[in-house]
Amino acid sequence: MMLKWVVRSQSVLLFGTGLVFPFYIVFLSESGASFSEFGLAYGLFTVSAALVHHWVGRYSDLFGRKIFLLVSAWGNAIVYLVFPVVQEMLAVYIIQVVLGILGALQKTSEKALVADFTDGSNRGVLIGRYHFWISLWSGAAVMVSGFLIDLLTLSVIFYLGSFICFLSGVLTLFIQEEKELGS
C-alpha cells in the first residue's frame, strides 16, 4: 500500500512546516518595519503559489509527482536554514516567493498522488484518512511550537523545522509511483 508512505512523508512535512509557521509570522512581522512591508511579504507568498499551480499540475502528469514532493520537502529544509542568516528585506521577499512555489509544488502533487493511489470505490475513505493524519500533525505542530516559542530561540526552531522537512524528503524517497504516467 503505497499511500502509507505518502501519509508518512507528508505528515512529517506538515509537522515541520507547522512548527515553523507561527515563528515565521513573528519573523516576518519583525523584519517588516511597516505593515505594508509585512503585507507585501505575505502576499508574495500566495501570489507566487497561485502562479505555479498550473504548471506543477501539468508537469507532474509528465514526470511523476514524487519528484515535486521531494523538491518541496528539501527545498523547505534549505530555506529554513537561510532564515537565521537573513537580514535584508529584499531577501525576505525572495524567500517568500520561493516558499510560495515550494508550497504549490507540494499541494498540487500531493493531491494528484493521493488520487493516483486511490480509485473509485473507497477513494473517499482513503482521502478522509489521509487528511485526518495530515491535519492532526500540522495542528499538533502549531501547538507544540506555541509552547516552544518562549523556551527556545527563533534560530533553533528554524533548524529543527529544517531537519524535520529534510526527514520528510527521505521518507518521500520510499514512495513508488506504480501508475503509468503521461498517459
Binding site: 529544509a77 518562549d150 524517497l173 520510499f174
Partner: protein, 488 residues
C-alpha cells in the same frame, strides 16, 4: 530498501549536513557590528569593535576615534540594560578579553585586576588565599569595569556600594593619557568615574580591597512584611557578624509581594565550637559550579507564561531554601556565586528586565504596597522580587543610597513590541514616582524609562556630574545611550 535509494539518502544527508554547517557558520558571523545588552532591547550598529588584551590597542582606537571624530563606547559583560555600554556608530571597546589578574597581595588583602575580568575570575584567583571580595553584585558574571561604572552593591550589609572598597585604578582618558586615580589624588575623578557609566574614560586595572573568606551558617525564615524594617534594624544593621543578607517577596499572584522570607548568613568565628574541622574546611572551600541550569531554566520559562507556575516556583523555592541550610556551613565565596545562568533568555518577542528601587528602611512596607498596586493595575508579568539592605553610601557623585535604604529588585517579563515598551515605560515612571515620594531613588543601570525630572530628583548631583563630564571629556569622546538621553 534498494541500493540506489540508500545511496540517494546518504548523498542527501551529506549535502544537507554541509548546508546546516554553513548556515550555522553564517548565523554566527551575521551582523557582528550590531551590539546589544542582555535585555536585547534597543540594539545599535557600531562603527567598529575593538578588543584585545593590550592597552595599546585601546589607546590606538581612541587616537583613531579622535582623528575621525567618532564616539567611543565601552562594554563589559553588557548586563546594564539601557544602552549604557554602547552607542550608535561609535568605536566599541569590548573589554572582556582584557581580563588578567595582575597581582594579589595576601597580606594587604588587595588584588589588582584588569577591568574586563569578571567576579568569577577574581573568586577563582583569591579563593586559594582564603580571601574574598568585599562588595560585588549578588552574582559573579559581571566585569570589574562594568561594576565600578555602575557603582554596584551586593548582599553584605556591612559595606555600602563598591566605591568604598576601591583602593585605586588607572584610567585611560580621551587624549590617550593614563592617570592613576586614588581618592586622595584625584577625588573628583574617583567619585565620578565610579558610578560614571564609562563617560570619563576607560578603566584599565583596578586595585580592590579583599577580606577573609568567612564561614557562614545561614538561617531562612518567613517574616511579615510590616515587621521587616524592625528585623533589619535589630538583626542586620551594624551587626558585625552578619556576612550576607537578602530576602524574597512572592511573585505568585495569590500573595503578590506579600509573602516574604529572608536569609541571613551569620559568621562562624574560628573560636566558636561549631567551626568546621580542618577536613570539613577542605570540603567546603572549593568553588561550586552552577547545577541544574536546564531544569531551572525550564521552570523559570514556565513561570514566564503561567501563573500556576509562578506559584509552584515560589513554593518550591521556599521548600528548597527554607528548610535545609539551617545548619550547613558555606564559605563566603560560595555564597557569593548563586545560580544565574538559568536566567539567560533570548526569545525575540519578549524580554526579561530588571529594575531596582531604594527606599528608606522604615518606608519599605509602604513602598511595597504601592508597587503591588502598580503591578496589579498595570498587569505586569512580575517573575521575581528580591530585597536587600543598602547602608548609606554617598561617596560617589551619583549615589543612590542617601541614607540607610532597603532595596527591592524586580524581574519583569515584557513584550518587545513598541506597545509593550511604551507600557513598561509608563509603568516604570509610576514606580519611580512612588519611590521618590517616599524619599527613595532608583538604580540607573537599567532602562532609560524614567524621565529627566525623575532622574534629577533621585540624583540631585546630576548637574555636577554633567559639569565634570565636560571637564574631563570636553569633546564628548566617550558616549553612550544613557548620556545621550539625559544630558540635555
Amino acid at each position: 530498501m534498494s541500493l540506489k535509494t540508500r545511496w540517494k539518502i546518504l548523498l542527501a544527508i551529506s549535502i544537507y549536513g554541509v548546508l546546516v554547517s554553513l548556515s550555522i557558520l553564517f548565523h554566527q558571523q551575521s551582523d557582528d557590528l550590531l551590539v546589544h545588552d542582555v535585555s536585547r532591547l534597543f540594539p545599535d550598529h557600531v562603527n567598529e569593535i575593538v578588543e584585545g588584551n593590550e592597552i595599546e590597542s585601546f589607546q590606538n582606537a581612541i587616537h583613531d576615534a579622535n582623528e575621525n571624530d567618532l564616539a567611543v563606547s565601552i562594554g563589559g559583560a553588557r548586563h546594564s540594560q539601557g544602552g549604557h555600554s554602547y552607542y550608535e556608530d561609535s568605536v566599541f571597546l569590548d573589554m572582556t578579553s582584557y581580563n588578567d589578574i595582575v597581582s594579589i597581595e595576601p597580606d594587604e588583602k588587595l588584588i589588582t585586576v584588569e577591568s574586563g575580568a569578571t567576579w568569577a575570575d577574581v573568586q577563582e584567583a583569591v579563593n586559594p588565599y582564603g580571601l574574598s571580595v568585599k562588595v560585588m553584585q549578588s552574582s559573579n558574571v559581571f566585569t570589574i569595569g562594568g561594576s565600578l561604572s555602575s557603582n554596584v552593591h551586593g548582599r553584605d550589609p556591612r559595606y555600602g556600594s563598591i566605591i568604598e572598597t576601591v583602593h585605586s585604578f588607572r584610567l585611560l582618558q580621551f587624549d590617550g593619557t593614563i592617570v592613576d586615580v586614588t581618592p586622595e589624588e584625584h577625588p573628583s575623578l574617583f567619585q565620578s568615574v565610579i558610578g560614571g557609566f564609562g563617560l570619563f574614560g576607560v578603566i584599565l586595572d583596578v586595585t580592590l580591597e579583599l577580606q577573609d573568606n568567612e564561614i557562614y551558617l545561614a538561617t531562612t525564615e518567613s517574616i511579615d512584611l510590616d515587621e521587616y524594617p524592625e528585623y533589619i534594624r535589630k538583626h542586620v544593621m551594624d551587626q558585625g557578624d552578619v556576612g550576607l543578607h537578602f530576602a524574597r517577596l512572592s511573585a505568585s499572584p495569590d500573595d503578590l509581594l506579600e509573602d516574604m522570607y529572608f536569609t541571613t548568613y551569620h559568621v562562624v568565628d574560628e573560636s566558636e565550637s561549631d567551626y568546621p574541622t580542618k577536613e570539613e574546611l577542605d570540603d567546603l572551600t572549593p568553588l561550586q559550579e552552577e547545577e541544574h541550569v536546564l531544569r531551572d531554566k525550564f521552570a523559570f520559562g514556565l513561570s514566564r507564561k503561567f501563573d500556576w507556575a509562578k506559584t509552584a516556583v515560589w513554593d518550591l523555592q521556599q521548600k528548597l531554601y527554607g528548610e535545609n541550610d539551617e545548619d550547613e556551613w558555606i564559605t563566603r565565596n560560595n555564597a557569593m556565586r548563586p545560580p544565574i545562568e538559568f536566567l539567560e533568555y533570548d526569545s525575540s518577542r519578549n524580554t526579561d528586565i530588571l529594575q531596582e528601587y531604594f527606599v528608606p528602611v522604615d518606608h519599605f512596607p509602604t513602598f511595597v504596597g504601592d508597587l503591588r498596586e502598580i503591578v496589579r493595575k498595570e498587569d505586569l508579568n512580575l517573575l521575581n522580587a528580591t530585597v536587600r539592605y543598602m547602608p548609606k553610601s554617598t561617596d560617589a557623585t551619583m549615589s543612590y543610597a542617601k541614607e540607610d535604604m532597603l532595596a527591592i529588585v524586580i524581574y519583569v517579563n515584557h513584550s518587545m513590541s513598541d506597545k509593550g515598551i511604551e507600557h513598561m515605560e509608563q509603568a516604570t515612571q509610576q514606580m519611580v514616582d512612588a519611590a521618590l515620594d517616599l524619599g527613595g531613588t532608583y538604580y540607573l543601570t537599567y532602562q532609560l524609562y524614567p524621565t529627566k525630572e525623575q532622574l534629577k530628583e533621585a540624583y540631585p548631583n546630576f548637574d555636577e556630574f554633567l559639569r565634570l563630564k565636560e571637564q574631563f571629556d570636553p569633546n564628548k569622546r566617550f558616549m553612550n545611550n544613557f548620556y545621550e538621553e539625559y544630558e540635555s
